[in-house]
């Protein structure tokens, strides 16, 4: 599907996570950084970790919706987008080259 951006975790095997009460702490062995993610950011990352090859934006939104029990894609999509930007900035996630 050209034109639709896809996203994946930079290196699944390098990531360790722990979740407590919907908050996620993440360790990235590629750069040695440790992160504390708010609930939504955590769910986006957990979804991406389920599929190392990556998700396109709408599939990702759907999966995150399932994880948190919200199915209004139009409400969720921009928030997932923001979370993705943040995860990219943290070097946890990258766009899949097509």
């Amino acid at each position: 599907m050209t034109g639709t951006p896809s996203w994946r975790v930079v290196a699944c095997e390098a990531i360790a996570v722990r979740e407590w009460d919907e908050e996620l702490v993440v360790y990235n062995d590629l750069d040695g950084a440790t992160h504390h993610l708010a609930p939504l950011g955590g769910k986006v990352l957990l979804a991406l970790l389920e599929r190392p090859s990556g998700f396109d934006a709408s599939d990702l939104t759907a999966r995150v919706g399932m994880l948190i029990g919200i199915d209004e894609a139009d409400v969720l999509a921009p928030v997932v987008d923001e979370a993705l930007d943040e995860l990219v900035r943290l070097d946890l996630v990258t766009q899949v080259a097509d």
Binding site: R18, W20, D21, E23, Y27, D29, T34
Partner: protein
Amino acid sequence: MGPIVARIRSPLAPVHAAIARHYAAHEVADDGQFSDFPVTVAPPSLARRFIRPTVTFRLDDAPVFQPLPAEQAFALLEWGLNWCIATQCHQYLIIHSAVLERHGHALLLPAPPASGKSTLCAALVARGWRLLSDEMALVALDRGDVTPIPRAIGLKNDSIDVIRRFWPDAAIGTVVEKTLKGSVAHARPPAESVARQHEAVRARWIVLPHYAKGAPTALEPLSRGAAFMRLVDCAFNYAMHGRRGFELLATVIDAAQCHSFSYGGDLDAAVRTFDALAEAS
């Protein structure tokens, strides 16, 4: 001191006196025993023994810090030993935290400087909590429990007088003025804490202290995620351990109740709060 043996050399009588006072209850190792840190607190040169006298702290005979005025010699020794442990003992994950014990469980107070953790630590010790350390939580990599290293409790500025009043039986040494941290004094650790220095314990309570003058005493629940990040931020050698450090701290957090604690100087209320916390578990 706990698992560490320091061989301390100094030509200065005040240093000998301070060691005799603060380490009175500690075991003195035999001269032929291995010491982890051969350190020296001494003037950097003959001239400096008499003219504007200063002292340096040396590990393996290499100076570690800039020289300080001679009156600060014992404080320099204590900071120097902290430095040695924090930069060398990577067989532990070391967190900048006070550690106390009650009913067989450890309370960690991980915090940056000026959070009031040393004052709180001294207050709890005064009321019967066992001291494991006022500065450093040594978390064993294999077991995840905390190894005691009870030493003199460092007190600064106002808290010196506060603790003198709160803990009349405390053996508090000479107050040294005008150090980099202001006025500094040390309180001798209770003999019982030293006697039990080989008893490691697991963390049951992780409490982030925050002091603000006049603030009400309040203990609030804290998310484990936030407590975890505080431990990461306060760990001296987290980067040394990478993934293993991450997993270890997660194990510590798993087993603990996490809180934030604010107080404004009412030490009685503070101690009651922690006593209640200990009873409730």
